[in-house]
C-alpha cells in the first residue's frame, strides 16, 4: 500500500491544493520541504515559485537541480527587514509580482507556490488577518490554476496562524504533515504502555497521542531535557492528516490520520517500524491474546468419556423443561389404575367399593 506521505510528496491528488508542513522546536520538518521542492522541480510541466523568507535558497537546491532554473523562480527575501530595507512591502507587490510570474509561466500546466516560513511573514506584517488575507489570495490563485497546483506552507508551531490555516473555511481540502521526534513515541511506549498503530489498536493510540503531541513543551522536554538526546537525529516521525482526500475507488473520506516515518538513509518516506531508533520498540511481540487454555479433561484418574451406547442413551433422555407449553403427547391407552391387592387389603365381594375404579 503506498504510504500517504510518499503520495503526498510525490504524487499529489488533484483536489489537494494546500500542503501544510509543521515543525516544532523539538523536531524540524525541513527535510520534507526540501524533498517536496526538489520533486516538484523534477516534474516537467510544473512551475515552482519559492519564497525564501528565513532559510537561504541554496538549502533547498542541490547541485543537480540548480541547472533547471526555468522551472524554479526564487524570491529571496531573507535579508528583508521591515523598516530597514528598501525593498517594497510584501503586501503591495506580491499580487502584482505573482500575476507577472503567472503570465510568464503560461505554458506549464501547474503551479506550486512554496513559502518556507510563514511565521516570519507574520512577524514582518505583524497582523494575523492581513497575513491570512495574503495566503488566501495565493490559495485562490493556485486553485484557479487547477490541476495539481499546490500552495506549500511551512510553519513553526506554536504560531497563531496555525489554527486558522487548518480550518475548512480557509481551504476545504488539506494535507497537514507534522514532524515529531522519535523520543515521543518511545516515551509513549514506556510511560503509557501504548505502541504505535499496527501493534496497538489505533483508537487507543490516537487517544493517547493527540493530547500529548499538542503539548509542545512535552516534546521539547523529551528532546532537550536532561534525559534527552538533543535534536541531532536524522530520522523522525511524521503525522499525516489528510482532509478531503479521495479513496482509491474515488470515494471521499473525511479526515484520515496516519503515522509514518522519515529516514534519509532509506531515501525519505518509510514506515514507522523501519526507523532505526524505533526498531527496538516495534520488534516486541504484542501480548498474545490466544493463551493455551489448560484442558481439565486430561490426566485424570477416572474416566470422563462416554461410550457409544452411553452417549446414545443419554441423547434420548427428554429434558425436563424442553417441552413446556407444548400439549403433552397423547398416550396410546386411556389412563387406568392398576392395582394389585396386597395382604392387608380386604376385598369383600358383598360390599365392593364402587366408587373406586380399579
Amino acid at each position: 500500500m503506498p504510504s500517504l506521505l510518499s503520495s503526498a510528496i510525490a504524487h499529489p491528488a488533484r483536489n489537494q491544493h494546500l500542503l501544510l508542513l509543521q515543525s516544532s522546536v523539538a523536531q524540524t520538518c525541513l527535510p520534507v520541504l526540501r524533498d517536496v521542492v526538489q520533486r516538484s522541480m523534477e516534474r516537467a510541466r510544473e512551475k515552482t515559485i519559492l519564497f525564501c523568507l528565513l532559510y537561504p535558497p541554496l538549502s533547498f537546491l542541490d547541485k543537480a537541480s540548480r541547472a533547471q532554473t526555468d522551472r524554479l523562480l526564487v524570491v529571496d527575501r531573507t535579508t528583508y527587514v521591515p523598516g530597514y530595507s528598501d525593498g517594497l512591502d510584501f503586501n503591495d507587490d506580491v499580487a502584482s509580482f505573482l500575476r507577472s510570474a503567472i503570465m510568464d509561466s503560461i505554458q506549464s500546466s501547474s503551479l506550486n507556490i512554496v513559502i518556507d516560513s510563514v511565521d516570519t511573514l507574520l512577524s514582518d506584517i505583524n497582523s494575523v488577518s492581513a497575513t491570512t488575507r495574503i495566503l488566501s489570495e495565493l490559495l485562490s490563485i493556485v486553485r484557479t490554476r487547477g490541476g495539481t497546483s499546490r500552495l506549500i506552507i511551512h510553519v513553526l508551531a506554536p504560531c497563531p496562524l496555525l489554527p486558522i490555516l487548518t480550518q475548512t473555511r480557509f481551504s476545504p481540502s488539506l494535507t497537514h504533515l507534522i514532524a515529531h521526534p522519535t523520543a515521543l513515541l518511545t516515551h509513549i511506549a514506556s510511560a503509557y504502555l501504548t505502541l504505535p498503530p499496527p501493534l496497538s489498536p489505533p483508537e487507543k493510540f490516537w487517544g493517547v497521542f493527540i493530547p500529548i503531541s499538542e503539548r509542545h513543551y512535552e516534546s521539547e522536554k523529551l528532546v532537550y531535557g536532561s534525559a534527552g538526546e538533543g535534536s541531532g537525529l536524522q530520522d523522525f516521525v511524521v503525522e499525516i492528516l489528510v482532509r478531503g482526500g479521495a479513496d482509491a475507488t474515488g470515494r471521499r473520506r473525511g479526515v484520515e490520520r496516519e503515522l509514518e516515518g522519515w529516514s534519509p538513509a532509506l531515501g525519505g518516506p518509510c514506515e514507522v517500524r523501519e526507523l532505526d531508533s524505533l526498531k527496538s520498540l516495534c520488534s516486541e511481540k504484542p501480548a498474545t491474546e490466544m493463551q493455551i487454555v489448560p484442558d481439565p479433561t486430561q490426566n485424570l484418574p477416572f474416566n470422563l468419556n462416554l461410550t457409544q451406547e452411553q452417549a446414545k442413551s443419554r441423547a434420548q433422555v427428554p429434558l425436563p423443561y424442553a417441552h413446556e407449553g407444548k400439549p403433552p403427547v397423547q398416550a396410546s391407552m386411556p389412563a387406568a389404575i392398576l392395582y394389585d391387592p396386597d395382604s392387608a387389603d380386604d376385598l369383600d365381594d358383598d360390599d365392593p367399593d364402587e366408587d373406586l375404579d380399579i
Binding site: P163, T166, G207, R257, V293, A311, K312, E324, G325
Partner: protein
C-alpha cells in the same frame, strides 16, 4: 369568576409571519431555527429579541455554519427578512439548502408536502435498511415494544412554522433574487471601509449598519428580521480581540431588545471558540453575553471518539438557554430532548445525515460500553451456532403455544450456553468442550432496545 368579564376583548397585534407564541409564556414570540430538534432544545424555537451563538471548536468541520445556513433558509422560506453579515453573503446563500423537490418555490402546493413526506419516508427507509441486518436478538417479550426514540420527529405536513429542508437541494437562484427585490435579503460587509468615519473597528461598523437597518425596518413593515453572522472574527473582520467580540455581543443584545422583532444567530470560526483565544472562562463569558449558546464539538479528526460514538458526529454542550420574559428558560419544562421533566438531563449529540441534520440524545450502548471484556469464539463456534439454531426453534414453538413463563426464557439461555444434546441431534464429543465459550458478541451498531415503563413520556 364570571362577574369579572372583560368588556372589551384585548386585541393582540397579529404575530409576524413564521412565528408563534411560546407555550410556556404568552409574552414570548418564538420562531423556528429550521432544525426541529434544535427548536426543541431551545424550548419551541428561538424567541424574537434573542441571540443564538453556535460554537464549533473543531477545525476540520463546519457544523456551526450549517446551523446558520438552516437559520437563514428558514427565514427566507417563511417570508421573514434575513440580514447576512459576511463579506461573501451571496455565496453563503448559494450554498444554503432548500425544500426538497420544489421547482415552484413560492407557493406551498400539495406537491411539496408529498415530496416532504416522501423525503422523510426515504430517510427513514434508509435508516431502517441499515438497521435491518444488525437487528439485535432481544428477548421476545420486548419485541412488541416501540423502538426507543432518540430525537424529535421532523414536521410532517406543510408546517408554516418549521419547513423541512433537504441538504441535497441547493437554494434556487430565483428565491434569492425575489428576496433581494422584496427587500428581504440584506447583506452587511464587515470589510467595507466607511471613509467618513475614520479608522473604526469592524465590529463597530457592523453594529452601526445593523442599527440603521433595524430602525428602517421597524418603521416600514412588521416582518421579523433574522440577523445571521456565519463567521464572526474571521480574517475579513480584521484583527479582532476578545474585547471587540464582547463589545459586539453586548451591543447586539441592546439592539435586539430595542427592536424586539429581530433575532440573531452567530457562529464563530474554530480558533475564536477556544480558550487559547479568549483566556480562561471564555466560553462561559460568551454564554452570558448571548441568550442561547451551544457548542457542537465534532469528532471528525479524533479517531478514538469516532470509534466510540460511531453513530454520531459530535457532542452538544449547552451553555445558556433563552429566557427573555421568565426566570427559568421554558426549555426546562418543554424540551423532550433534554428530558429534564422525565429523568435526569440527557446527554445530547448531533448527526449530519445525507439529507438532514438532527440533534439526538446520546446513550451508551446496551451492554454498557465498547470496552467490555470479550471472549473469543472458539474454533467450534460453527457447531455452537447450528445447535443454537435448533434451540431457537424450540423457543419459538414455546411462544406459539402462548404459554409464557419465566422458566422458558431462562431455559432458552441455558440451552444456548450449554451444548446439551437435543433429542433430535447427536452431538459429537468435540462440541462439548466448547461449552466454555459464550456466544458471539452482537454487531457494532448499538441501539437502545427497550422503552421505559411509562410510554406516554416518550411518545413524541
Amino acid at each position: 369568576m364570571s362577574a369579572f368579564k372583560r368588556r372589551t376583548t384585548t386585541k393582540q397585534p397579529p404575530l409576524p409571519a413564521g412565528t408563534r407564541t411560546c407555550p410556556g409564556s404568552t409574552a414570548t414570540v418564538i420562531t423556528s431555527t429550521g432544525i426541529p430538534s434544535l427548536d426543541d432544545i431551545l424550548g419551541g424555537g428561538l424567541p424574537l429579541s434573542c441571540s443564538l451563538l453556535v460554537l464549533a471548536p473543531d477545525a476540520h468541520s463546519a457544523y456551526g455554519e450549517l446551523v446558520i445556513k438552516y437559520f437563514a433558509t428558514q427565514g427566507l422560506a417563511c417570508g421573514q427578512r434575513v440580514c447576512v453579515v459576511d463579506s461573501r453573503a451571496e455565496s453563503f446563500l448559494n450554498e444554503c439548502m432548500w425544500m426538497p423537490g420544489s421547482a415552484t418555490t413560492t407557493a406551498q402546493t400539495a406537491d411539496t408536502s408529498e415530496h416532504v413526506s416522501l423525503t422523510v419516508a426515504e430517510d427513514e427507509e434508509d435508516e431502517r435498511a441499515s438497521e435491518h441486518d444488525t437487528k439485535i436478538k432481544i428477548a421476545w417479550r420486548y419485541e412488541q415494544m416501540k423502538q426507543f426514540q432518540t430525537t424529535v420527529p421532523s414536521a410532517q405536513s406543510t408546517d408554516d412554522y418549521c419547513r423541512t429542508f433537504d441538504l441535497t437541494c441547493r437554494m434556487p437562484e430565483s428565491v434569492i433574487q425575489s428576496a433581494r427585490s422584496d427587500g428581504r435579503f440584506l447583506a452587511v460587509n464587515p470589510d467595507e471601509q466607511i471613509h467618513t468615519e475614520g479608522p473604526v473597528s469592524s465590529c463597530r461598523r457592523v453594529i452601526h449598519r445593523l442599527s440603521d437597518i433595524l430602525a428602517q425596518n421597524d418603521s416600514e413593515s412588521s416582518l421579523a428580521t433574522r440577523i445571521c453572522i456565519p463567521s464572526l472574527g474571521s480574517y475579513e473582520w480584521g484583527d479582532v480581540s476578545p474585547q471587540d467580540i464582547c463589545y459586539l455581543f453586548h451591543s447586539l443584545r441592546v439592539l435586539l431588545r430595542r427592536y424586539p422583532r429581530a433575532c440573531a444567530s452567530v457562529c464563530m470560526p474554530s480558533h475564536v471558540c477556544q480558550e487559547a483565544f479568549g483566556g480562561p472562562g471564555w466560553v462561559q463569558k460568551l454564554g452570558w453575553l448571548t441568550d442561547a449558546s451551544i457548542t457542537l464539538a465534532a469528532f471528525s479528526s479524533n479517531p478514538s471518539l469516532t470509534a466510540m460514538f460511531s453513530s454520531h458526529h459530535g457532542l452538544v454542550h449547552i451553555h445558556s438557554l433563552p429566557a427573555p420574559h421568565t426566570l427559568l428558560p421554558p426549555s426546562d419544562k418543554f424540551s423532550a430532548l433534554r428530558g429534564l421533566t422525565s429523568s435526569g438531563e440527557n446527554n445530547l449529540a448531533f448527526k449530519c445525515m445525507r439529507k438532514r441534520f438532527i440533534f439526538e440524545t446520546l446513550h451508551l450502548v446496551v451492554e454498557g460500553g465498547v470496552s467490555e471484556r470479550r471472549t473469543t469464539p472458539s474454533a467450534s463456534a460453527l457447531v455452537l451456532d447450528s445447535a443454537a439454531g435448533h434451540v431457537r426453534d424450540h423457543a419459538h414453538e414455546a411462544l406459539a403455544s402462548g404459554r409464557s413463563s419465566v422458566a422458558a426464557v431462562q431455559v432458552q439461555l441455558e440451552q444456548v450456553e450449554i451444548t446439551a444434546p437435543q433429542p433430535t441431534t447427536v452431538e459429537t464429543p468435540a462440541s462439548e468442550t466448547s461449552a466454555g465459550s459464550s456466544f458471539k458478541k452482537a454487531k457494532v451498531k448499538k441501539k437502545v432496545a427497550f422503552t421505559s415503563e411509562r410510554p406516554d413520556l416518550y411518545d413524541f
